[in-house]
């Protein structure tokens, strides 16, 4: 418990230090990291998005068919996708692919004294290593989430119409009637927070890696576990916030949950 509080405090300090040093890094530094984070994540994001769409279709179809509401299938798939499952599952996937590898990379640099060497040569390690990774996650993870959402919508639609036999017109007609810009936006805003959490936790774990291959492995694992928890926590808090905020913006209106 005490350790948990200390960890949160440490992470906060680390994040503040990062914010203090934030600037746009040189191209030679940021582009390879952007490429690693963004481009190389596209395959796993396509797979994640593709399956969420189809799984949602399979899961929701029976219940909706029972009530004779097959044509509403698009609504539940698309709303769930953009508000909740798209951002969360994409973030969890990226916490594994991007976060753990960042933690392992920085952990290796820590235990081989490369981080000390940066300091010794007058380059601030936070500015040099953490800031570009943070920017890459902060900017690209929301974009990747949007890609996952898009693929999920597409695969959900194809599966519903081609396999489950839902009428394409009604599928989209009902979806567009119900889905709001607010839903889409709240999903994207969540993913911005997820991206920040992934980068900060991964870099923090890497920076504090213990010696040896074992230490680096531990840093990577811890990075994933802590990020996983952080994502669920942020999802819950922001979900609650967006629900309350909806009533503040549109009192009396009923939110589509």
């Amino acid at each position: 418990m005490l350790d948990g509080v200390r960890l949160v405090g440490d992470l906060t300090l680390f994040a503040l230090k990062m914010v203090w040093w934030i600037n746009w890094p040189r191209g030679g530094v940021i582009w390879p990291i952007m490429y690693q984070t963004g481009v190389l994540s596209i395959p796993v994001i396509l797979i994640t998005g593709g399956f969420i769409g189809m799984v949602l279709a399979v899961q929701a179809y029976d219940q909706f068919a029972m009530m004779g509401m097959e044509n509403q299938l698009g609504t539940v798939i698309n709303v769930t996708l953009v508000k909740e499952l798209g951002p969360v599952l994409a973030a969890l996937m990226l916490a594994g692919r991007v976060g753990s590898s960042m933690a392992a990379e920085l952990g290796t640099m820590r235990v081989t004294e490369q981080i000390d060497a940066l300091t010794a040569l007058g380059a601030n390690p936070v500015r040099f290593l953490v800031v570009p990774r943070f920017l890459a996650c902060f900017l690209l993870i929301p974009l990747l989430t949007i890609v996952a959402d898009g693929i999920g919508m597409l695969s959900g639609w194809i599966f519903s119409t081609k396999v489950l036999g839902v009428h394409s017109f009604y599928y989209w007609h009902h979806s567009f009637n119900f889905i709001t810009a607010y839903d889409v936006l709240s999903g994207v805003i969540k993913s911005v927070f997820f991206g920040a959490a992934i980068a900060i936790i991964a870099c923090h774990r890497g920076f504090h890696s213990e010696a040896g291959a074992e230490g680096v492995g531990k840093a990577a694992t811890e990075s994933f576990v802590y990020t996983f928890i952080a994502i669920l926590l942020i999802d819950f808090l922001l979900g609650t916030f967006f629900m309350k905020f909806y009533y503040v913006l549109w009192p009396g209106d009923v939110a589509m949950v």
Partner: protein, 263 residues
């Protein structure tokens, strides 16, 4: 004058105490050699000197002023007076040899590219490496001894006023070791560099040391015994009648064998 001073500095990692109440100074222009058993805290001491680690107790002074009385920015700037050769070289493994050696120059000095190339090649030659052969290689493609020398070239490229060498000749063949020893002497004489050298190599000790400080592992000391068990010239060290110093310098296992067998 003392460029670096440790005042009653102690350092622990969690519950492991490594240094206890160390008071030590590095004087301008001298070559100070730190010796002692593996794990007694020599590398940690050098990191304290350069503010890569902070003491748990006590303080470290640069030019007679506590490091902590400076702003973060000042510390970063003044740290550039130091060059550090890391025990495992600590080359950036995503960069080529050239980029490694040029790193500090590019980071801190606005030099024309031609000047950077000149400095990098010059320093690589100083450490006995042929620039044409190594510049485009990645650290992973080099042998251990070559990596170490690239690390040395990288530190020297910044023309530091103070060089901290962590085992500069470990892993090098006897001839290359002597090249490095000569380099340490040469930088002191020509560039008026102050040096701190950690080494297990008695040739290096004999050749470069103006002053020797010997550390003893805390685990083998009683709570009130000082951790620095010898301070003086190389000649004094080789003539010392302290059995611990004697044993170390001659490299005799002595009672340790029976201790190890018992453990």
């Amino acid at each position: 004058m003392s460029l670096i001073q440790l005042k009653h500095a102690s350092k622990s990692f969690g519950s492991q105490h490594v240094l206890r109440d160390i008071t030590l100074d590095v004087r301008e222009g001298e070559t100070l050699v730190l010796i002692g058993e593996s794990g007694c805290g020599k590398s940690v001491t050098m990191k304290l000197m350069m503010d890569l680690l902070e003491p748990t107790q006590g303080e470290v002074l640069w030019d007679g002023r506590p490091i902590r009385s400076r702003s973060e920015k000042q510390i970063t700037r003044e740290r550039l007076k130091f060059g550090y050769l890391f025990q495992q070289a600590a080359l950036f493994d995503s960069l080529t040899v050239f980029e490694n050696v040029a790193f500090g120059l590019r980071q801190n000095k606005r030099l024309p590219e031609q000047k950077v190339v000149e400095t990098v090649h010059g320093r690589l030659r100083d450490v006995g490496l042929s620039p044409d052969v190594v510049v485009d290689k990645k650290p992973a493609e080099l042998s251990g001894g070559m990596r170490k020398r690239v690390g040395l070239a990288r530190a020297l490229a910044m023309s530091p006023a103070i060089m901290l060498y962590d085992e500069p000749t470990t892993g090098l063949d006897p001839i290359m070791s002597d090249v490095i020893n000569e380099l340490i002497l040469r930088t002191r004489d020509r560039e008026k560099m102050t040096s701190v050298v950690v080494t297990h190599d008695m040739h290096t000790v004999r050749k470069v040391a103006d002053r020797i400080v010997m550390f003893y592992p805390l685990t083998r000391l009683k709570p009130d015994e000082p951790q620095i068990i010898f301070e003086g010239t190389a000649k004094d060290a080789f003539a010392s009648d302290d059995p611990r110093v004697h044993q170390f310098i001659r490299g005799e296992a002595g009672e340790r064998l029976t201790e190890l067998a018992a453990a």
